[in-house]
Symmetry: C2
DNA sequence: CATTCAAAAATTGTCTACAATATTTTCGTA
DNA sequence: TACGAAAATATTGTAGACAATTTTTGAATG
């Protein structure tokens, strides 16, 4: 992490999120206040604010008197997150559907285009930002502060989960599928948009290695046989 | 609010939540740091931590350089909250179902009994705490930190919404319905438990006056005619 | 060599003073 | 009386110092 003079708390939060999503910070790592204050050249008070925000987003757990640690999501929690995320995304699509404007659609299509450019350039940081950013943009367009806040947390948590449980080096979640969702919204077909979103999230979830512990046992038995 | 020497941040948060739920603090009211610091006899720094937590739970919105204000939820947001809450509650029930213990059930039944006692005593503060607390206990028993955190926020937001949009003086959400849900879980009938929970939340939502703005216009026209 | 205890060091928790920003009041002018 | 500008006041934002807690290190003992 490089020094950033005059950096905002939100910028600190984003940098930590990206470091986690890019697997440079792994679960269990301690984020020491003094160290981070030096890295970002801010006071400890501001680091504490950033850590509180990271805890809110599920990326970090703060243990009183001991410190802040990057979270280790469990398999069950991963499934919880995807389950709840599907209903939040569905609600967002429903909220967008009746009132989406040409400007909204233009923004969404522009965003997908940016995703494609980042893919072409193999720009990991941009890919991660834009992949989650597409879903955040949908939530923003829905006009619901509540859904936007929910989505922000869910995107953060999903980033952590994919960093831990995804076996591939792939960081995006598919501009093609995003484009299809935009097209369905543009066509006013909310059922289709919702179904495409569900399929998209199932696709993302299917890329994670969330095998049950007993499957691990099975593998171990096979390995020892 | 009375002075509390040695009060924790969580206690401050709870006091503000209760004040909002009991309609003693209305939407738009500013929570001034210095004033709250004096009321609770703590430093401003701790009040800022409590306000950040209240913002996280959706009860307060902090406007930079201007202050913290109790939120005014919109009708659409209220509907969003109930929609997402239904899926979170359903997921909690699913997570509890396969592994619920006798001790869990005992705790749940004890909680419902407490709710009934509070009702009999017409103890408003206890009623509010225990009503939301039942759902939090379910989430705790599910063993999922994520679902517990989600539920905590949703309970807070629901309290604010009911304070604003419920026309009756009723503060609880029904020990009888809670007891039925516990019975269904105890019987291993998760479909039934989930359906009862859904019905319960629809019941809570139906007690809110969430008419559309145009209905207000209609009322105004009738009033002016 | 392993264990225990005390001291030192590291880290987090909290407070208060100062800086920055916003709001209210006062004063001058038309 | 109304309006605008400046001053005063109120409130929030931030930093560094001190307090409290936890962890690590070093010494003593068996």
């Amino acid at each position: 992490m490089t020094e950033q003079a005059g950096i905002s708390i939100q910028q600190i939060v984003e940098k930590v999120w990206l470091s986690i999503a890019e697997r440079r910070l792994r679960p269990g790592v301690q984020l020491k206040e003094g160290q981070m204050a030096a890295i970002f050249d801010v006071s400890r008070a501001r680091i504490r604010q950033a850590l509180a925000a990271l805890e809110r987003e599920g990326l970090v757990t703060i243990i009183p008197n001991r410190g802040a640690f990057v979270c280790q999501p469990t398999v069950d929690e991963a499934r919880d997150v995807f389950t709840i995320r599907r209903s939040v995304e569905s609600r967002v699509v429903a909220r967008i559907g009746a009132s989406v404007t040409k400007a909204d659609l233009s923004r969404l299509r522009g965003h997908v285009a940016q995703e494609r450019t980042a893919n072409t350039n193999d720009a990991t940081t941009d890919i991660i930002k834009l992949s989650g950013g597409f879903h955040l943009l949908l939530a923003e367009i829905s006009g619901s502060d509540f859904l936007f806040g929910m989505m922000r947390d869910l995107i953060s948590r999903t980033s952590l989960i994919t960093a831990v449980y995804r076996n591939t080096a792939r960081f995006n979640c598919g501009p093609d599928e995003h484009a299809e969702i935009v097209d369905a919204i543009a066509a006013g077909d909310l059922k289709k948009a919702s179904a495409l979103m569900e399929h998209h999230l199932e696709h993302v979830e299917s890329e994670l290695d969330l095998r049950e512990v007993r499957d691990m046992s099975h593998d171990l038995r096979a390995a020892l046989a």
